[in-house]
């Protein structure tokens, strides 16, 4: 009997000892829940709530300003004039569009697409030479014009083509720089040494592998060469 009383006293003492621990954990979970509620409120609910108070402005007929027929006609004319001005920005002459992200091209004539296909554009490689010189192989973006057209082009190898193969750089007039047959049957220049030309690496069409030029397959290149003239616009994005 005495032992049983002792046991009960021990249990009661244990439970009194445990109470502050339980309270601590309950308090902690309430605290944590509060923090979580505030954080979630700020992160997700508040963004919708804060604008909920904004009133949509509707112009009442009292505050409304009306235009007379002359002013309406003026607005109509301005819209017509500016729309025409904007529409005239798209050339009627053939133009060429190059997408450098996915290496696709589109050819337009009379504002209508007449051909599309794969091409290859700059690889975005930064080549670092050992003499501190470096080159970025990217196709420039923006509006360019055809400034030169040649058939059976011969490639004059620039310095980087020797550097990237670990070859010594020859003198500027060294005949080793000239290479025939690698640019296809045609080349169109858009300035700054950038060309639209053919390729012997047809399996890479549709991929960003060039040193900045735009490579195309033979049939597409011929169509583009025939369609585009000196001054034709080339849009690269």
């Amino acid at each position: 009997m005495e032992q049983s009383v002792d046991n009960n006293t021990n249990l009661a003492m244990d439970s009194t000892k445990r109470r502050p621990v339980i309270r601590f954990f309950i308090g902690l979970s309430i605290g944590l829940s509060s923090v979580i509620i505030v954080v979630l409120f700020v992160l997700y609910a508040l963004s919708g709530l804060k604008e909920g108070y904004l009133k949509t402005i509707k112009v009442s007929p009292v505050d409304s300003v009306s235009l007379d027929q002359k002013q309406i006609a003026k607005l109509d004319n301005l819209i017509k004039k500016n729309s025409q001005k904007f529409s005239n920005l798209t050339p009627n002459q053939p133009y060429f569009v190059v997408n450098t992200t996915y290496n696709r091209f589109k050819l337009y004539k009379n504002k209508k697409q007449i051909r599309e296909g794969f091409c290859s554009t700059g690889s975005y490689t930064l080549l670092k030479g050992h003499d501190k010189r470096q080159w970025i192989f990217k196709t420039p973006k923006g509006l360019y014009r055809i400034i030169g057209k040649v058939t059976n082009p011969v490639w004059r190898r620039p310095d980087w083509s020797f550097v990237e193969e670990g070859l010594p750089i020859p003198s500027q007039n060294d005949p080793i720089r000239w290479e025939a047959g690698v640019l296809g049957d045609y080349a169109l220049s858009i300035g700054d040494g950038y060309l639209i030309h053919g390729t012997i690496y047809k399996r890479f069409l549709g991929m960003p592998v060039t040193h900045g030029c735009i490579r195309m397959n033979d049939e597409d290149l011929e169509a583009v060469y025939k369609a585009l003239d000196f001054g034709s616009k080339v849009y690269i994005f």
Binding site: R23, I26, G27, I30, G31, S34, I37, V42, L43, L46, L49, K50, E51, Y53, L54, K55, T56, I57, V59, S60, D63, S64, S66, L67, I72, K74, L75, L78, I79, S83, F86, L89, T90, V97, N99, T100, T101, S123, Y124, T125, L126, L127, K128, G129, H130, I136, K141, G142, L143, V163, E164, E165, G166, L167, G206, M207, P208, K233, Y235, F237
Partner: protein, 258 residues
């Protein structure tokens, strides 16, 4: 037990107080931004070929919106760089160079901030009649996917280039901050169809945490937080990537919101 109940009540009161404080300062900052926007764009220019009016006539409103949109596109076409036109009523996003559409993408879905409907009509038309300039951007993909290659010392070190990996493995989500204070969020649509869902959630969560941190900082220093209205746009992943890569750092963006 009594002390515990008191603690609970104090916690609840504190929670309500914190939430109320944060909500109040955030709402105040929203109202302040609306007022600032209205005053920034309210003055009529004497040189303007047309001065916008506030009208309840829906046909005139539509004409004014069209006029603002064309004017902004013409202005953007003066620049040499690539610009973006977001036409929400038509659900199209067009990349343009000198006024020529070089790529047209479909906006899968969008959500405009209520701010657009809360600002003064004339101020809104004026803002829309000029292109917005991108002042900053955050993205899950690099703007320029540059690869560094060290030139070989001689021909023995030279290895021909391998075929590049052109699979779209990276999730495409980005945010543009603009000169008008509006933030444009671009998300790829249907990220759950690929492994991009979690990446999109992380990108979004990181942005919310950043904004939340700024808000807390303002709340506890009793300063008004910076409020930026948002436009959230969902695009096909390929289109989103094309748009982000094509646009220059300070690109022009033209909006048509109605």
């Amino acid at each position: 037990m009594k002390r515990f109940k008191v603690l609970l009540i104090i916690s609840a009161i504190l929670l309500v107080l914190i939430i109320s404080l944060i909500s109040t300062i955030e709402i105040l900052s929203v109202n302040k931004t609306v007022a600032e926007f209205n005053s920034k764009f309210s003055t009529n220019s004497e040189k303007a070929e047309y001065n916008f009016i506030s009208t309840s006539d829906s046909s005139i409103t539509a004409k004014q919106i069209t006029y603002a949109f064309i004017s902004a596109q013409l202005e953007a076409s003066k620049s040499d760089s690539i610009s973006l036109t977001l036409n929400f009523p038509d659900s199209t996003a067009n990349l343009m160079i000198k006024g020529v559409v070089v790529h047209s993408a479909k906006i899968e879905s969008y959500k405009l901030s209520r701010f657009i409907d809360a600002v003064d009509e004339i101020s809104l038309y004026k803002m829309l009649s000029l292109p917005l300039h991108v002042t900053g951007h955050i993205s899950t993909i690099p703007k320029v996917p540059l690869m560094v290659k060290i030139a070989p010392k001689d021909t023995s070190e030279y290895t021909p280039d391998v075929v590049p990996d052109t699979t779209d493995i990276d999730a495409v989500n980005f945010i543009f901050e603009t000169s008008a204070g509006i933030q444009l969020y671009f998300y790829e649509s249907n990220p759950r169809e690929s492994a991009d869902g979690m990446k999109q959630f992380k990108f979004d969560f990181k942005d919310r945490v950043q904004s939340g941190y700024e808000l807390f900082k303002s709340a506890f220093t009793f300063k008004k937080p910076k409020y930026q209205p948002e436009i959230r746009i969902k695009l096909n992943k390929r289109d989103a990537k094309m748009i982000y890569r094509a646009l220059p750092e300070n690109a022009d963006i033209v909006l048509k919101v109605r």
